[in-house]
């Protein structure tokens, strides 16, 4: 599913140069649940952006399902992105749309049409059927993140990426979101790459990859 070969990422500014990733080589088979751990600033988010086909400005090669999108045309990148569900730490719901509309947008973009039943099923799955017509501002943090997860699974993505999805939630809610994600991973059979600081959560994964200063420090299955 995912193959990284010697991937590096350097942020360059006027008067700084930060090496965020350095020589990352990684193979993730389809359907695997991988937690990405590491100290703050170790390059986890940078890696996820590359995996999520958001950042192309890196060295090394990245193959997603055997294709590389470096320098690819916008339409090809867009088509590949449709198979990726991205869950952000700060939810990134569209504030001027209802939750239903947020999911509908995802359906239109990913599938080109709106399947009402599917959207209803996604909302049911994240237990927000009663909040369909609420606006994001009217939801709690946990509810927002569930909505965001619901949006991410519209169109049954094959790769689910979550960058500290519980980072801004309290412990109980975080546990709820985490079990939702792990359940979805088994239900959908998708690959799940999850960034977390929480070792307990990380240990729920089949595989844990630890980054340290932009390099893979540890990589183990259990």
């Amino acid at each position: 599913m995912i193959r990284l070969a010697d991937v590096g990422k350097v942020y360059r500014g006027r008067n700084f140069e930060v090496t965020a990733l350095d020589g990352i080589s990684l193979d993730i088979p389809p359907g695997q649940f991988v937690s990405l751990v590491g100290k703050s600033g170790s390059g986890k988010s940078s890696l996820l952006k590359i995996l999520g086909l958001v950042d192309f400005d890196h060295s090394g090669r990245y193959w997603l399902d055997g294709s590389t999108y470096h320098g690819a045309r916008d339409t090809e990148v867009a088509r590949a992105r449709k198979c990726i569900g991205y869950v952000f730490q700060d939810f990134r719901l569209i504030g001027r749309h209802t939750i239903w509309k947020n999911l509908q947008m995802a359906a239109v973009i990913r599938e080109g049409h709106v399947d009402v039943e599917e959207i209803r099923a996604c909302l049911d799955r994240v237990d927000l059927a009663d909040k369909a017509l609420s606006y994001p501002d009217e939801l709690s943090g946990g509810q927002k993140q569930r909505a965001a997860v619901g949006r991410a699974i519209v169109g049954r993505p094959r790769l689910l990426i979550a960058d500290e999805p519980t980072g801004s939630l309290d412990q109980a809610t975080a546990t709820q979101i985490m079990s939702l994600l792990t359940d979805l991973h088994t239900e959908l059979g998708c690959t799940l790459v999850l960034v977390t600081h929480d070792m307990d959560i990380a240990m729920q994964a089949e595989r844990v990859v630890e980054l340290r200063q932009g390099r893979i420090h540890d990589d183990f299955l259990h």
Binding site: S45, K49, G52, V54, D55, F56, D57, D74, T75, A78, R79, A80, R81, K82, I84, Y86, F88, Q89, D90, R92, I94, R96, H97, K101, Q104, M105, A106, V108, I109, R110, V114, D163
Partner: protein, 375 residues
């Protein structure tokens, strides 16, 4: 597609105050352009009225002084020409209509007879006696003229050996102090027109549905055929109409240009509004792109929104502009000339303004790179 349109409507509705204000700019611009077009089109249409059945034919001399024209009008050649044409078959085809009209005979101190054909019922207010009846030999006298001051209704008068019965009198009107006789046009050939009126123009009247414009031209051609090259007969009505049309055209263009400026300002406003909208939605677009929205789709979304905004308010503006024009024209008693041409040109202009105004913001939005915005 419907989803996209609904999304655009939602976008406009979300910022309804801003959309409305920008829209009002478009509305005012379009309304003023439409108003000016509708008004001037209606005015031009009244000039171009195809139902015209009369015209004034005037003699023009290259000589500077007016007196030369007056002299020319009474010169034997011109007199012969007018008489000749009046008896040609082309003009004779006016004959059935001519019964409704009369020849105005000007009678200054000597006896001079004009060839001016006037519409009796319109131009000769009979203040005493019977209205003009078309009966053979009926005349109406316009007072005062010392020679006719003692003539009363019912009298028989003789002009050049021809008997006429006076059936009415009318007051002196207009500017000529001359006494005038009004008699049926078909009588004009009976009157020996040895001295034509020095009035510079001759009224030609045709019947409704008569191919007036063709006959008019043939009359003018006949009059001009072999005339002294310094002189020329011309259709004064047509000249005046075309002069008026030119003037109106110029006014239309100037006012139209002024109105177009407000349309251009409205277009700039669209750029501004859509640009702000694109800035507001940077985060949103980043997320949508990360989900697989293409650049083209982002662009289409913004262009559609801008075109939608412009179209809605432009149509309203066109409606209001036309309504105002209709009101003004009704007030001025001028028939409304609804111009489909104007509408047909307006539609692409509107779409162009919308798409043009939305293009740069849409382009900016499409270029947003999600990498800077997602963490």
């Amino acid at each position: 597609m419907t989803f996209f349109i609904r999304n655009c409507v939602a976008g406009l509705w979300f910022n309804r105050l801003r959309s409305t204000l920008t829209g009002i700019g478009v509305l005012v611009g379009v309304a003023s352009v439409v108003l000016i077009m509708a008004l001037s089109d209606a005015l031009i249409a009244t000039i171009d009225d195809e139902d015209v059945t009369s015209c004034q034919i005037a003699l023009m001399s290259s000589a500077e002084a007016d007196a030369d024209v007056l002299d020319a009008m009474s010169s034997p050649d011109i007199v012969a020409r007018l008489q000749g044409v009046a008896q040609r078959t082309d003009v004779a085809s006016f004959a059935p209509e001519a019964q409704r009209h009369i020849v105005e005979v000007s009678l200054p101190t000597g006896v001079s007879i004009g060839s001016m054909v006037v519409n009796f019922t319109d131009s000769v207010p009979v203040i005493a006696g019977e209205p003009f009846t078309r009966a053979t030999g009926d005349v109406v006298i316009m007072r005062p003229n010392p020679d006719f001051s003692n003539v009363t209704i019912g009298d028989q008068i003789v002009i050049n050996g021809q008997f006429f019965q006076v059936i009415g009198t009318t007051d002196s009107h207009g500017m000529t102090p001359d006494t005038k006789l009004f008699l049926p046009e078909r009588m004009s050939s009976l009157v020996d027109v040895d001295q034509l009126s020095t009035t510079g123009t001759h009224l030609l009247i045709g019947q409704q549905g008569f191919p007036f414009s063709e006959v008019r031209q043939s009359v003018i051609d006949q009059l001009n055929d072999g005339i002294d090259p310094d002189m020329k007969f011309f259709d004064m009505s047509a000249e005046m109409a075309s002069g008026l049309r030119d003037a109106l055209g110029t006014i239309q263009m100037v006012l139209g240009a002024i109105a177009s400026v407000s349309l251009a300002v409205a277009a700039l406003n669209i750029v501004n509004t859509m640009y702000i909208a694109s800035l507001e939605r940077v985060d949103e677009i980043a997320v949508l792109k990360s989900m697989g929205m293409t650049r083209v789709q982002v662009m289409a979304l913004f262009l559609l929104e801008s075109v939608l905004l412009v179209t809605i308010f432009a149509l309203l503006g066109a409606l209001i502009g036309n309504l105002c024009a209709a009101l003004i024209l009704t007030y001025a008693d001028i028939p409304m000339a609804f111009s489909w041409m104007a509408l047909a040109t307006l539609v692409p202009v509107i779409v162009l303004v919308g798409a043009g105004g939305g293009f740069y913001p849409a382009h900016r939005a499409a270029k947003i790179d999600p990498v800077r915005l997602l963490r």
